[in-house]
């Protein structure tokens, strides 16, 4: 008997091969003109795994602490073999991960995959997006350079402006009044322990729900299929779709390697808490649309603090986004089109503000 057959038998005798692989054999992927969007979730998952692997590797040499963090990243970039590659892949993958997560969000929104019974899948996905942004924010400070220092100063000051809960939040995020080594330790703890723990559980839940409900078919396609049942097409998830997804991951890995090799990430200048903020300082692109909005908003709107209104506005938008599945209903009137319209508007706003923020000085 071949080794493979013996392994299979070993598993079969203990767990039952048939029962174990039944979900894989049963799972199918609907085939239609929007099927390509189904790759985005898997791609986001793949990039997350890359983050876990490269992040664990960076932990072998990284040292938190205001006196050591910058030097240890410098050490990784200059002394450790392939250290520049590992760090650059971590940063590039982080950026692409945020991009694919947002793309996944909007594709699910426009294909209406969030609707009953998939409300919890959508909500867990939204929370995962916030966690990903949290990863981006907390990880940004870890090299302890000028840009990250001021970005964290501003980023923690923003929730600090909210009435009542603002100040406790600021103290919680900074671990004190100011951004210091204590903040760095805190962000490090969030970035490598707390967030990964929560994110892993939520990803398992998210994937479990996807498996439980199967893959959603857009209502338009569903209608067409109802009218002519012969046009219904499906692909087996395993191995057909899985192999295609694997191929996409393979290409993504090559792209990551190329990006990291051709455009390695800068380390910048070590943070100096007593130096002025450099001119033209900006957050990373994924926070740019909020940054630009807050810059444009007038100081006072109808006697209220403009910036505070902006912050609360984004908070409200996030809350509405989480609740989208419950807002999509037939009664008292059909809101489905409204949600698509609002989605297009929000997407356009994000894109325009990001580009504007990038070029505005």
């Amino acid at each position: 008997m071949s080794l493979r057959a013996r392994l299979k038998q070993w598993v079969d005798e203990r767990f039952g091969w048939e029962a174990l692989t039944a979900p894989l054999r049963k799972k199918t992927v609907p085939l239609h003109r929007y099927s390509y969007w189904y790759f985005l979730g898997g791609m986001t998952l793949f990039l997350f795994v890359i983050q876990v692997i490269t992040g664990a590797l960076l932990l072998l040499y990284y040292r938190p602490g205001a006196d050591e963090a910058f030097e240890s990243v410098q050490f990784i970039m200059t002394q450790v073999q392939f250290g520049w590659l590992v760090r650059s892949i971590h940063v590039w993958s982080a950026n692409l991960l945020i991009f694919t997560a947002f793309s996944h969000l909007f594709s699910v929104l426009f294909l209406k995959s969030y609707r009953k019974p998939r409300e919890l899948t959508w909500m867990s996905g939204m929370v995962l997006l916030f966690l990903i942004l949290g990863f981006g924010f907390t990880g940004y400070l870890l090299p302890w350079n000028t840009l990250s220092y001021f970005a964290t100063k501003v980023g923690t000051a923003i929730p600090g402006q909210i009435p009542l809960i603002g100040r406790p939040t600021l103290l919680f995020l900074r671990g004190g009044e100011d951004v210091t080594g204590a903040t760095l330790n805190r962000m490090f703890g969030f970035h490598v322990a707390i967030l990964p723990g929560i994110a892993t559980l939520l990803i398992l839940l998210h994937l479990g729900l996807v498996q439980w409900f199967g893959i959603s078919v857009p209502p338009k396609v569903e209608n067409e299929w109802k009218q002519s049942p012969d046009s219904r097409r499906e692909m087996r998830f395993f191995p057909n779709f899985a192999l295609r997804e694997l191929m996409a991951w393979y290409v993504a890995l090559a792209a990551l390697g190329a990006l990291a090799a051709l455009f390695p990430w800068n380390l910048g200048v070590k943070a100096d808490p007593f130096a002025s903020a450099p001119a033209g300082i900006q957050p990373e692109w994924y926070f740019l649309f909020m940054f630009q909005s807050l810059k444009l908003i007038p100081a006072k709107i109808a006697g209220l603090d403009g910036e505070l209104l902006g912050i609360l506005g984004f908070g409200a938008l996030a809350a509405v986004a989480v609740l989208v599945p419950f807002l999509d209903r037939k009664k008292p009137f059909d809101t489905s089109r409204w949600i698509t319209g609002a989605g297009v508007l929000v997407l356009a706003y994000i894109v325009v503000m990001t580009i504007y923020g990038h070029f505005a000085r």
Binding site: L57, Q79, Q81, F82
Partner: protein, 152 residues
Amino acid sequence: MDSESTAPPLARRRFIELILGTGLIASAVSFVYPILKYMIPPQLPDFGNEAVLASRISEIKPNQGMIFRFGTKPGLLIEAAPGEYTAMLAVCTHLGCTVQYRSDLREVWCPCHNGKYDIQGRNISGPPPRPLEALDVQVRGDEIFVRRKAEG
């Protein structure tokens, strides 16, 4: 498919499998190689033949030993008799614990497994397999300098 027509396609399939398989293995190696290399810690700048200030004559008394920093390792300086200094790496040759000078025994002692060396660092009892690495001592004025013994 009948059996006669399978022979040529199988040969072609075998060829495709070989090409794809080689490519996959090669790329897998190219992913794993940097990771393995990354995990090897870089050599810290070696101490070379730099002389290190171990202590001052005024800070050490006869029949007394003291630990000093020798690069990344601890060193042990002993004033065996008045004005007579010996120095060695304080790393036990058994399992690497830091040894100490016992003035009551006039021996160098490792507390981990009761290894013993004489005042020159030669292993005399217990598990240590080799003598401690001896260092050169040089007195300049009040300062006691220590450096690695020249090779050979």
